[in-house]
């Protein structure tokens, strides 16, 4: 196990290195125009451009340029020349909102997905199953930015039941925190609930035909014990994989939802930086997002071994 985790950690570092190289290539090497000009923003003075050229060592060799860029990202002196802000500071400021949104939504979507999947698989083709199928497919089909806007329009602007957006820190007022996040959580969860409950349902129906389920029944377990201990338990692996991918990607910023609900998180920062063609923050958020995707992929692999002891950790490491 220790060996597996060590390998996976080494692999994670390697992938991140590769991602940082690609980011470097895309922003600093491939473009035909002067990277300093790109970084400086739209209405930059020639002195600023010259200053950036100097600061980023853009006349040095490529490996040196790469090292300078990485040093800037990790030492915290990456600056947005557009707004004269410290990029790392802005990212740290955005973490509470983004993480509150994602973790809360993840709890909601996993709970409901497992519940819905379970209820559907209990009586496939039954009334409840058909109802949940309609609900799930609708959830999958509705674009989240549209759903968010509709919910805001009716529940916040017209009825005034919910606040119209914004983020209240958990440490300031937990109730307001949850109240402000309830609509974003719901909006973000609906797609995933639909998707995950469908996947879980079909996995459970497959598992129902397995020999070990017949054995469990032959032992005299009740229908519920068979469903939870044997069928559900053995069907979780695929949605854990999905969860690792989706959750890791969201932690890097839920752009649409943060924008619609005006949550001052990493997603919103990403959005603004992209609109303003503000290069330094874009570099930082891409690396930040990649870190969580790679991290959660590694965590899923480790968690897999707990879900299924047949996974031979040493072998799957590569």
């Amino acid at each position: 196990m220790g060996r597996f985790i060590a390998r996976r950690a080494a692999g994670t570092v390697l992938v991140l290195f590769a991602v940082s190289l690609i980011v470097f290539l895309i922003f600093n090497v491939i473009p035909d125009s002067n990277p300093a000009q790109n970084m400086a923003g739209r209405n930059a003075s020639p002195t600023l451009v010259a200053g950036i050229e100097e600061e980023w060592g853009l006349n040095d060799s490529l490996p040196q340029q790469y090292a300078t860029m990485m040093r800037k990202v990790f030492s915290g002196d990456l600056i947005s020349y557009e707004g004269r802000e410290d990029v790392d500071e802005r990212i740290v400021e955005g973490i509470p909102a983004t993480f509150s949104l994602c973790i809360g939504a993840a709890v909601i979507w996993m709970s409901f997905a497992i519940l819905f999947g379970y209820l559907s698989a209990r009586r496939p083709g039954g009334r409840l199953d058909r109802l949940l199928t309609v609900v799930s497919v609708t959830g999958i089909s509705v674009p989240e930015f549209w759903l968010g806007a509709v919910l805001l329009n009716y529940l916040a602007y017209r009825l005034g039941v919910f606040p119209s957006g914004g983020y209240v820190p958990l440490t300031e007022d937990p109730l307001e925190w949850a109240y402000h996040l309830l609509l974003p959580w719901t909006t973000l969860s609906i797609l995933y609930i639909g998707l995950y409950s469908r996947v879980l349902r079909s996995n459970m129906l497959d598992a129902l035909g397995e020999d070990y389920v017949r054995t469990a029944r032959a032992k005299g377990l009740s229908a519920r014990q068979v469903m939870t201990r044997h069928v559900l338990r053995n069907s979780l692996a695929p949605i854990v994989t999905l969860f690792g991918l989706d959750f890791g990607a969201l932690l890097g910023g839920a752009i649409a939802i943060e924008y619609v609900f005006d949550l001052n998180g990493i997603g919103l920062y990403t959005f603004e930086s992209l609109i303003n063609q503000d290069l330094p923050p874009v570099i930082a958020v891409v690396l930040f997002g990649a870190f969580f995707i790679v991290l959660f992929n590694a965590l899923v692999d480790v968690f897999y071994a707990f879900l299924d002891p047949r996974v031979k950790l040493g072998r799957s490491a590569r």
């Binding site: 060590a6 020999d211 054995t215 005299g220 377990l221 040493g314």
Partner: protein, 551 residues
């Protein structure tokens, strides 16, 4: 029958509603089970024997199942019982053991957890420690070495035989009066089968455990049963004491089944060697698999010697039987011979040419001359392709034929293996196991190979179908002058088809020679072990053999 029956089933009918109408799987079956007896229900796949057994404890109940008749267990009528009553019967009064111990255990839980679950489901007042103690005790009594350690292992960490023992222990957790064993040895090697049958016999004797044994194999029946029911198309066509059914079968179907059993002492006539150079010559073949370990970078710390210095040759038109248990290296050997696995060292000469170490590209023109028939006709045919596509694929790949000519050749092949042109557009799942294996053979023969390596071609088939497939292989050999390497774990089956036999054990060939000599005057103790494991489809002989081994 003197004693009051434990279980009595009368006029049981089980039908399943399908798209094509009602399928009557069990059609008016009646029987009784006396305390302490072993009742064998024999029949081919689809005869309704498993459905009958599973219906006894209500496992076949579903929305589209129609169950009629009566099942009385100790005075209670089970066909009218509710799901809760049936749950109380399952495990508590009737224990069940299934065919494949690998898939019948839940792979994600430890053995101990699965055993204690059976007890705790019925005795909520029992503590985990009590249940565990019981599990350890039972695992010990079914012959698992070191049961305290085995309870904490996962199913995949046990061998097939050990898993089936654990499965039997699980069925006994609540000391049921009845054990239903549904093909308990079909997925196992013959040597392991002999051990499991011995265990079932011992449990029956020591615990006076009434046993219903479901099987397709009369050899297994002769080893263990007191009474026999023969099922065919949902009905019982013959019933009686073991010896009566074996020595004076009344029903023509029983006679047919008994006649189809492959017997160890029936060997084919020896073919004359024609003095030509051998088609296949293997010498000093070695295949090692490295075992690697290391924190970040793998180092080779050990190697598994799957094939360890093996030499043999096969003459043109001859059949070499390669016998050994699972894990003896026989499948690795056949794959290394065909260069599907690159041998570690050694030489393989095919038709006078060295092929060990040839690249994939160099092997391609030779592939047509050496084909393989696989064990599992269910898993080795692509379920999404039609039979015609499956058989014609090698012809298309090798560019032998196309269009109308291709179709004609495939029709011819299908007819040659005993199918018809009507099967061309069918899918594998629409065919029976025997028919599927015929498709596997047709596919192998499509490119007119010289050498066919058949890896356990009949071990997934019913005993009654085995003889047909073996006869087909022999017939094709005669017609087409094929050379076979026949790989199997059952030396009885191997003898039935082979001119010469090579016995493999732990990666080495421990004995080889003419089939008669190896079977009648075995030199190596391992060969003798394999020979005694073959079930004899003859109750008197089986009893005599048991008596001599007990003494």
């Amino acid at each position: 029958m003197s004693a009051e029956p434990l279980l009595s089933v009368s006029d049981l009918r089980v039908g399943f509603a399908t798209e094509g109408g009602l399928v009557q799987a069990v059609d008016g079956v009646s029987f009784e089970l006396a305390p302490g007896e072993v009742l064998a229900i024999v029949g081919e796949s689809g005869s309704g024997k498993s459905v009958t057994a599973q219906t006894v404890v209500g496992l076949t109940r579903s929305a589209n199942a129609r169950i009629e008749g009566s099942i009385r267990l100790g005075g209670a009528e089970l066909t009218e019982a509710g799901e809760r009553e049936l749950q109380a019967v399952r495990g508590e009064r009737v224990g069940m053991v299934f065919q494949d111990p690998m898939t019948s255990f839940n792979p994600v839980y430890r053995i101990g957890r699965q055993l204690t679950e059976a007890l705790l489901a019925h005795r909520p007042e029992a503590t985990g420690a009590e249940a565990r103690a019981r599990a350890v005790e039972l695992l010990g009594s079914v012959g698992l070495p070191g049961p305290e350690r085995q309870v904490d292992r996962y199913p995949h960490e046990l061998s097939g035989g050990m898993r089936q023992r654990a499965m039997i222990a699980m069925a006994l957790m609540l000391e049921p009066q009845i054990l239903i064993a549904d093909e308990p040895t079909t997925a196992l090697d013959v040597t392991i089968q002999a051990q499991i049958l011995e265990l079932l016999r011992r449990l029956n004797r020591e615990r006076s455990l009434a046993t219903i044994l479901i099987t397709h194999d009369f050899g297994v029946v002769a080893e263990i049963a007191d009474r026999v029911l023969v099922m065919h198309e949902g009905r019982i066509v013959e019933r009686g004491d073991l010896d009566r059914v074996f020595y004076s079968p009344a029903d023509p179907y029983t006679r047919k089944l008994l006649g189809a059993v492959v017997r160890l002492d029936q060997a084919p006539p020896l073919r004359q060697s024609r003095g030509e150079p051998p088609l296949l010559e293997v010498s000093g073949l070695v295949k090692h698999f490295p075992v690697k370990r290391g924190l970040l970078i793998d180092r080779e710390v050990d190697r598994v010697r799957a094939v360890d210095d093996v030499s043999f040759s096969v003459a043109r038109g001859e059949t070499l039987g390669l016998v050994g248990e699972s894990g003896s290296g026989k499948s690795t050997l056949s794959r290394s011979v065909l260069q599907l696995l690159a041998p570690t060292s050694g030489s393989v000469r095919f038709d006078g040419r060295e092929i060990a170490g040839l690249s994939r590209r160099q092997m391609r023109p030779l592939r047509a001359q050496m084909q393989m028939v696989f064990q599992d006709p269910y898993a080795s045919l692509n379920p999404r392709k039609r039979i015609g596509q499956i058989v014609s694929e090698p012809l298309r790949i090798q560019g032998v034929a196309s269009g109308r000519e291709l179709r004609g050749r495939v029709h011819g092949l299908l007819e040659r293996v005993g199918l018809s042109a009507a099967h061309y557009r069918r899918y594998p799942h629409e065919l029976s196991g025997g028919q599927r294996q015929r498709v596997g053979i047709a596919r192998a023969l499509a490119v007119e190979p010289k050498l066919v390596i058949a890896d356990e071609p009949v071990s997934a088939l019913d005993a009654s179908i085995r003889a047909q497939i073996l006869d087909l292989l022999a017939e094709l050999q005669g017609e087409l002058g094929l050379t076979y390497v026949f790989v199997a774990h059952d030396i009885g089956v191997v003898r039935h088809v082979s001119d010469r036999i090579a016995v493999m054990h732990e990666g080495k060939i421990v004995e080889q020679g003419p089939a008669d000599q190896v079977c009648e005057r075995p030199v190596h103790p391992y060969t003798r072990k394999l020979l005694t494991a073959v079930p004899v489809p003859d109750p008197r002989e089986a009893r005599a053999r048991r008596a001599s081994s007990d003494a």
